[in-house]
Each structure stands twice: as C-alpha cells, then as structure tokens.
Amino acid sequence: MNTTLHSGYRKKGLKEYFQFREIPILFYIIFIVIIFSILIDGFFSIKNFENISRQITTIGIVSVGMTMVIITGGIDLSVGAILSFAINIGGLGISLGWPIPVVYLVMIGLGLLLGFINGFLVTRIAVPALIITLGTMNIYRGITMVITRGIYITGISSSYQIVGEGLLPFMFFLIILAIFVFITLRTRFGRNLFAIGERGESALYSGVPVNKYKVITYVLSGFLSAFAGIILVGKSGFIQPQAGMGYEMGAIAAVVIGGTSIFGGSGSILGTFLGSLFMGLILAGLTMLAVNPFWIGFITGFLILVAIAVDSLRHRRKDYSGG
C-alpha cells in the first residue's frame, strides 16, 4: 500500500511521479507502437502521431476528471452527457449571437453546475455513485434531446475552431495534465482524495472534509467534461446532440488501464494519460488496419476487464475467499 500513499510532501524526485504501476503500461505502449509500425505503413510518422494526439484529447481530458472521482471511490457515468448538455445548451447562445467568451463561460458554467448536482446527490444520498450518475446521465441527455429536438447546430463561426486547430487541443490536454498532476500530488486536497478513497471513515475522523472534497471532484469532472466539449466543437466545427456518447466507457477504460484502482484509494493522473495514449494508439492502429468500428466497444470492454483483473490480483484482498 506504500505505493499509493506517500508520506508527507518531501521531494522524492522522479520516483514520486512515476509509481511502479505506470512502468508496465509504458512498456505496453512501446510494444504496440513497435507492432503497429511493423504492420502498418505510415504508422510511425509525425502526421499519424499528430492525428492520434488530436484524437485522444477530448476523452483524455474527460478521463482526468474521471480519475479524480474514481480515486475517491466514486464513478461518474454522466461525463458524456454533461459534455453534450454543456455544448448544446451553451450552443444555443451561438445562434443568439452571443460573443464567444460569453458562450464559453456559459458552457463551462453548465459543466460546473451539472457536476455540482452530481456531487451533491452522491454525497447526500447514501447510494453508490454508479446509480446516481446513471440517473443524472439520462436526465442530462434527455433534457439535451428535448431542448435541441435532435437538431445539429451548424454554421458556427470559424473563431470557435481556433481551440481545435493543429496541436492546440493536445497542448490544452498537457496543460490540464500538469495542473492536475500538481493538484493530486502536491496539494492537501489532492492527497486527501487518496485518503478518502482508501478508507473514507478514517479520513473523516482525521478531519478531512470528505463530502466537500467529493463534491469538488464531481464539479471538476463536470468542468473538464464541458472543457472537452469546447475542444470537441473546435475540432468538429458543429454541435450534435449525441456528442459524447460512450465517453464514460472510454474514460473509465483509460483510467483503469492507467493503473487507477476502481476500488478507489490509488491511482495517478499520469497513469490516466498513458492509459488514454494506449487506447488512442490501439484504436488508431485498428482503424488503419481497417477493422470495423463496431469492434471499438469490444476492445474497450476487453481492455477494461484486463486492467481491473490485473488491479484485483495486485490488491488481493485478504479477508476471505469468495469462491
């Protein structure tokens, strides 16, 4: 358990940032890059890597928020629905001719609000976060569909696409990663998230404001989902009500592949970055090998199973054998 909770804030060099659990995933990444480079012409090229970096950005940003939530022992199934809600409802302002900063602020505000609703419900209602966010996911998505009536928002001015140009999305991703690596490793709030996930009751008795911190993780998750939505609008140039479908699966996959325990209490933002990179490389490689996109769900599910199985073997709870 020492790998999960560091003692104090003292500097430990690289060791602190790269926990043991991230090393294997780094090897998997190198391994599949080699395999795909041999199999596919043009896989190992700047152009392809630029493409992949653009592709992983949106789900990657969502996964960062998901990591925080999962570290505290929760889960947020509503990330894709929040993304869609934020850009579609905020996008109504585009047709009303609102200035760009206002539209962006509204989108972000909606993300924060929906995240807060999640956090509020999860902490007030003694029911697993899975059930709550299953409910809110459908409420948010339903409201989006009712308000938009399934209609796309097109004809968006090109200034909205600035954030989606070239390597800019990936830059945003890297900045967010840096901020959240800092938060999780260097702030009292971040360190306490691990304590909450490891043993919530002890954390509470040690004076950690458990509920407040949990609410903050959901708010952050909502914020990052809305931010990812803004980048998605920038990349695609239109807004569709179905945006963000299945993002919760992709994000959970990236998080658990990155070594974050689904039981809470351990994990890292860097691991999640590697997890989303791994997913992105696999999906890109399979697309280039002309594998039917129907199989994406299969691969995502399979990778989730492998990742949690590895995690479970690592955690081997000693209480008793259930089987």
Binding site: V146, F263, S312, G323
Partner: protein, 330 residues
Amino acid sequence: MNISNKAKTFLVLIGVNVTIVILLTILSPTFITYGNISAVMSRMSELGMLAIAETIVFISGGFDLSIGAIMALSGAVCGMLNAIGLPFGLVLFISLLVGLGVGAFNAFLIVNLRLQPFIVTLATMSIIRSIVYAMLKGSVLTGLPPGFLDLGYFYIFKIPFLFIVLIVTGIIISVLLKNTIIGRKIFFVGGNEKTAYLSGIHVGRVKYLVYCLSGLISAMAGIMFVIRIRAVIPDAGLNAPLEVVTAVLIGGTTIYGGKGSVFGSLLGILAMYLLLNGFSLLSLNPFWEVIILGLILIVVVGQKSISESLRRLFPSRKTERQVQVKPETV
C-alpha cells in the same frame, strides 16, 4: 416489522399504479380500451423478464448491467442461426444457451477473479453490444418462422401469451427465492456474504447460479422481444439498464443485497409502462421518458436514504434495524 414494511412498499406501488390508471383514464379516452391494455401487457413482458433477472442479482448483492446486451445478443444469435437454416428448436436452444454462457462468464470474472460486479458487467455490456453490432452490421434481420412469430398474437383468455410467460417466470422465480434452500442462500449471501461464507455456504456457487439465471432469463427476454417486434434489431434493450434498475429499486429491492422481491419489481415495471403508455397517448416527446426515469430513480433511492437516516436519528425505532440483520434466514 419487516413484513409490514414490505406490505407498505407493495401498497404504495399498487396505489401508484391505480393512480396512474385513473389519471390516464380521465386524460385519454383510448387508454382503458382492451387493445391498449393488452398492448401494454405485451410491451412490458421482455423488460419485466429483465427486471426479474436483475432482482435475483440485486438480492445476491450483485449488479448486472449486461442484461440489455444479453437480450440483444440472444435475439441476434436467434436471427443469424435461423438464417443459416438450422432447425428452429435448436436455434432457440442455442440462443438461450448463449445467454447462460454470458452469465457464466460474468460469474467467472466476479467469483474467480474477484472483480467488482458493476464494472465487470459494464465492460461485458460494451463487449456484447459490440459483438451484436458486428454480427448484424447495423441491419435488421427478418424472415423468422411465421409460426414462431405468431406467438406474439397468441392469447389465452384474452391475455397475451408473452405476458403469461412473464407471469409464470415471475411465479417460478418467486417460489425459488422464497421457498427453496437455494433461494434462501441467495438472500443470505446478499445479506452478509462473509457470514454466509463462514456458515459453510458456497458463496461462489451461489453467485454462479445467480448470474447464470440472470443471463438465461435475459436471453428469454431477447427471444420474447423478437416475437413481439417480429424482427431482430441491434439496438434491443439499449435503455434497459436504466429502466430495469429503476423499476427494481422502485419495487423495494435494495442494491445492498439481501432484500427484495420479484413481485415488487414487476409492479415497478408495470407503473413504468403505464406511465410510458400515457406519454405516447398524450403525444409527449419520447425523450421525456429518460428524464422522468432518471428523476424517479434518484427520488426513489434518495427517499430511501432519507428515511434510513431518519431511522438512525430516532433510537426508538432501533428494533427495526436489528430485524434487518435477518436472523430468520440463518
């Protein structure tokens, strides 16, 4: 105390159902016609089957998100094998077996690898749905034997055949849960897994049974769905996790395990389908359905936790909490 609580849940549910019926009768002239009522009965049958499956899993303290995907898979297998030209009895048998197999696979991951049920079934849901899409390539399969499909138009005493299948399954599972040793073991495992294990119950075997049953019943639901809509569609049961989990929780089954009843879940599904029927009769936007389901889900689980925290606040009701330990199951 426990029994009166349960009776209260049932009474509330029956009251809700009656209220919806009265409201809809007033609001829509077509509601209380035989055609409409029997349509609601057929329509709720496959979701009702899934609710039975989920109830068993919930009672055992587990979670199964893959029921909707298993439903789609068994339908797809049924359509594909029929297209190949296998004898239809064998086709049905294999379709059911596939459901059972997926259930066993879920159980293997949950029991032998000791993974969390909800994340396992979230993953298998994604895997199975993906397989269904790849099998059907997004298309709709037809050409099933007409004699088989006509079961959807088959009535016994003016009650749709599919609904009778649902009720019979409900009764069988109810008896299994309440009146057999294995059923009581399922309750026990859900109530306190560790105690059950220490009392000499094969927790793993019980869980295998639970998930296999869930898979099998979901596969039956898939075949009933094919009968009802007379075709195989890849999106079968797409919303099932939300609808079923909501109905089961409304019906008084808890996600913590050890408590619940098939009867309650079926009343929950009935209330839901009456409500949905009302939406379509009053021609509201169908997406209101998911919004209202989501709200009901949160209100129902929220209201339970509120009343539980109230109970904790008033020590005079302490006896109620002690009864929940379920000494009668031992």
